[in-house]
Symmetry: C2
Amino acid sequence: MLLPIALLVLVAQAQAAEPFVGFSPEAALKQREIEARFDAALDPNDQRAWMKEMTAAPNHVSSPHNKANAEAILAQFQSWGWDAHIETFQVLYPTPVEVQVEMVAPTQATAHLRENNFTEGPDAAVLKDALPAYNVFSGDGDVTADVVYVNYGMPDDYKELERRGIDVRGKVVLARYGGGWRGLKPKLAAEHGAVACLIYSDPRDDGYFVGNSYPNDANRPLDGLQRGSVNDITLYSGDPLTPGAGAVKSAKRLAIKDVKTLPRIPVLPIAYRDAQPMLEALTGPVAPPGWRGALPFTYHIGPGPTKVHVKVQSEWSLKDVHNVIAMMPGSEAPDEWVIRGNHHDAWVMGAHDPFSGHGAMMAEAKAIGALVKQGLHPHRTIVYASWDAEEPGLLGSVEWVETHADELKQKAVVYINSDTNGRGLLNVDGTQALQRMVNEVAEAVKDPQTNASVGERKRAKQRADGYARRAAGIAGTTADRAAERIITVRPMGSGSDYTPFAQHLGIAALDLGFSGENDLGGVYHSSYDTYDTFTKFGDPDFKYGIALAQVAGRAILRTANAERLPFAFGDQADGIGRYLDEVKRLTDARRALAEDLGQLLDDKAFELAADPLRQVGPPQRDDHVPYINLSPLENAVARLRRAGAAFDRAIAGTTLVPGQTAMMNVLLKDAEQLLTDTRGLPNRSWYTHMIFAPGLFAGYGAKTLPGLREAIEEHQYADADKYAVIIAARVEAYAERLERATAVATATKPGN
Amino acid sequence: MLLPIALLVLVAQAQAAEPFVGFSPEAALKQREIEARFDAALDPNDQRAWMKEMTAAPNHVSSPHNKANAEAILAQFQSWGWDAHIETFQVLYPTPVEVQVEMVAPTQATAHLRENNFTEGPDAAVLKDALPAYNVFSGDGDVTADVVYVNYGMPDDYKELERRGIDVRGKVVLARYGGGWRGLKPKLAAEHGAVACLIYSDPRDDGYFVGNSYPNDANRPLDGLQRGSVNDITLYSGDPLTPGAGAVKSAKRLAIKDVKTLPRIPVLPIAYRDAQPMLEALTGPVAPPGWRGALPFTYHIGPGPTKVHVKVQSEWSLKDVHNVIAMMPGSEAPDEWVIRGNHHDAWVMGAHDPFSGHGAMMAEAKAIGALVKQGLHPHRTIVYASWDAEEPGLLGSVEWVETHADELKQKAVVYINSDTNGRGLLNVDGTQALQRMVNEVAEAVKDPQTNASVGERKRAKQRADGYARRAAGIAGTTADRAAERIITVRPMGSGSDYTPFAQHLGIAALDLGFSGENDLGGVYHSSYDTYDTFTKFGDPDFKYGIALAQVAGRAILRTANAERLPFAFGDQADGIGRYLDEVKRLTDARRALAEDLGQLLDDKAFELAADPLRQVGPPQRDDHVPYINLSPLENAVARLRRAGAAFDRAIAGTTLVPGQTAMMNVLLKDAEQLLTDTRGLPNRSWYTHMIFAPGLFAGYGAKTLPGLREAIEEHQYADADKYAVIIAARVEAYAERLERATAVATATKPGN
């Protein structure tokens, strides 16, 4: 297999001095030996046994088996030689006392809020301790009202309703899962005046339309339910009562009524077998084409005559959550921490989510323990964390990070996360300062299904997908094509435990996982996410569990052992430059479109064009989109491009003396934090990272340069000008740090 | 309502000398008076009564009621003062003796080949004389074999099958309607070795997914069947036994076995109620996303275990077809014929198809008869034709055109067609030499549902649609945006009776109809296409029947009465120029894609990218796409642009003397024929028009510059170079004719 040219150049550059980033040739030789021993200690049967044991009963927060898992994980870490303990927090975690959904008109039916395996088959015995399906943090309430179908319940869907003159005030909205983060559905429903929100799984999105249903494959069956959290994690994550502070016993807590992240209306998930009669009975306009799912009838919007009764009553006490924290002290830089985490709580048993990733993490910890027993201590301190209460909103990790924020800002150099894992391709989100290391690691690990490396396979997939897009007539930019030939570290949204590290504190972070060849999307957050399902349809031989351990383990060990911290900055500069280009294109496109729209509205073109018998009103007039002063940011990005290139040139072709390395590490270890601004993003100061954040209206999806981009998207143009300046200042500070690091390196560069 | 600037300029230019194209100010005044009287003679109750009478029984070719209709139409024309007769031809028209579809494994079921109204409700009595659903010209045969689902059964679908290693040899293919012309489905199936072809109507395409089903609306119900012809009209249209010659009694006929346009395998349409168990039982790979319809299960490809028995046995004798031809002699230029046509045969009763358009045509004929009785004779001869046997492949019109080809080439100046008609927007296909007239006529007719003109409403719709595309991120060219502000006459494909005029002889032609706001797509070619359906869901008050009569009647009367024939050529030059630009972009895009693909194949990127458990092979390597010598065509188009602009300038701002007008009309009346080449298109010499044709793999869909474009699409690059020269010669000849006409006009232009 030939390496693509771009990568050859990159590798050749680095090889001059560094066989891989951060390592001298001698250190790299030793590191390769360590990694070979690390690999030898990985056994898929370990992961199989752990998954089997840990998924033997329901693992929701505060369940007995979840606590037992934490204790078992603790014991394992200790047995492998780690200095481990359980760190407990007290968080708000409501559990359902009564949940009920009934269709009361035009026919009567009671929704099942439990899958069939609660009562049938081998899982029934252990599922008697499981909770009914619910959306944690749903508002309490008891309402009966007509139903309106709102598609995915996203902002554009409400615009479509408005164009049809349909109001959801006083109604129950029925939304389908997908199209955006579930927590936005009740939030937007409540903002539009709905009194309750039901979320169902349409077979179009994760059921029979996609592929064979469970138990023939892992697509959602008619009784499958998607549980999940609906508190507004785009404002802040973690315990709703203690934003910004650790939820220790003595913490000052908000009153529940003062919490801004909690939905104000009841919200419950239902299966399509129960949504089907509700949808089929709706009248009113035919739903727009993009709203139609795979159920066998014409989708209508309503309102009514379908009427439902929805009741949610929860028990709102504090619950204990148990993080397992394990440390392996560094031999040379004990105060530089390389942190690795994966959660262990689940919605029900949780084979895929979280134990597919958690097993890989434990395998790494066991292998690192074995290395240490062989005398191969890490240079830096390694911290492994098994988080509790990720599912209800990253509660375990956030409270730990908030509690230890000062120490982490001092000591944490990298956080590496995983969550679900399975067959397929390596996907990486995070800081592009680590992109070079990621690419090097991906070259070093074999894909379990082919003779290629993980990196080769990923690049082949990116190129094949790019070709398919171009064959379909979707042109990409030159930068898009170049990006196909490298593993691009993608910006972080949210939805797993990297968020407090990366986006609250500004720790350089990565989120790693394999996926794409059967992601068990149809058993996601359901009682069918079991060991049997995973070993039939997910990663039957835990080969990708091994691959993830090899990738994440290498990333951890290289970061822990590198002489110079393994950052490179040309990729980071390119990435931020691309984000800025996107914002510019976005602004120009919106401006042209707004003008276009204005003219059409002036000419009453939409009224004339509309079918008078199927009246759809015109789109809302867009504000005039002003020109934003992006020059501060353009200048900052230009400086960063120069500084990143200079840094990468400086570390290529030279060998540093130890004193230089130490000086550089001081400058590099917290450089990512310079990209944060303590004022945070508009109206959500908890999110301080200026390069990426979960989108306000994208939920788990990432927005880059969010202070600027969302200001434009939401017509807050004053914020746009303001954040262009704020982001520019952070990029300048970051570039200045790189310039200083480069100066250290070039001070003695041969020939300078 | 303000006119857009582009149109104001255009109208202003023309008004200098011509209030509308071809008319002096004095003649235009008189013409306006004629059109006002014409409008006054139109009565929607006529159209209602004609539709009710003509749809009272099945109207397939050779049925008694179809013949009775022809006689009734003849009598009407005669009563209105037309010189009318029935002209009969003897054509091959097979009728079913035995048609049968049975699922024989894994379960047994017999397909219904009749809709439920054959046996239930008020239509049952007359439907006892209807034929069962069939695809006319199906091969005879009796086969039993495993089923393979082939999506739409188009060329790309067979490529997908090949990538999955699935062979249809010896199998029955099950294709869904849509995605391309039905006749291609059995043709491609047979070419790939299938032994039979079933075509079903998926509710995704014209059933409940689209909107409420019949009888709640006009989308296809579970028992709805789409009949239709499957002979290969892309090679030639008309009677399969007499290509190029009129099927008169004495005609020399091919033996059936020598006919190249007939499918070699049995093919039948089925309803989704019968396709559903066949599809649901299929195993094999899950169908690709784009193949999945709206039935409530996972679509698989097969082959098997579904096995079906298919039998077709037809009676292959010659049948009489009866065209009604009515003439109104011209007072000044009796040897210049303006022809108008619409067919009267139907698959079953045929309210929408064909009587919605046919009624408008009759209304025009009645009104013209009334004008003549008032002494307002047309200057040119007007011919109205009610065609038989359009449904089995334009048999009535083609045989008439072939019989009278020499006379038509001498005398026919314009042919104007209609077929189905309903609520919505005016759509016009044809020669762009008539685009200016079309726009003028559309300004003069009121849209029945708004206060706007038909033209204003159409332009508003084009602009609103363009905005929606741009809002979805699909950028168009500047030419696309300009085109939104004018009614663009679109290139002709096929599927109605304009084909022999426009594409076989090169008569300037238009196809007119209103559509878009409930096209009754789900009753198309079914026994539910009834008077009741049409008056409930189609055009309840025949308002658009009136509007069509107003548009088509004006086009006929203006062409008949214009002093100078109402052509303008800047639009024609722009149109051909756009087609050439498209071909250039197509070629460049294919070349880039072929190179891209070659590299990916060399690198084995597709193998690496594919999921090993769901193996899909790589796409087929594309030939290297050579550079085509387009310069002859580019030079010809440049000359045409100059010539078209010069002509349009010459006729603006001047008044011709009668001798000049006569000289110009001699040059203009057959100019369109200069765009034909008697050698015809590659492997289909019957199609002689070099600017547009039905696509070889598009069926009813148009291909522009077809000799060139299809050569590139089908990798016949030698043909591409050859046809670039052939087309260039025709465009040069056409431009030269315009230059001569311009010279006539400018000879006495004031100030010249």
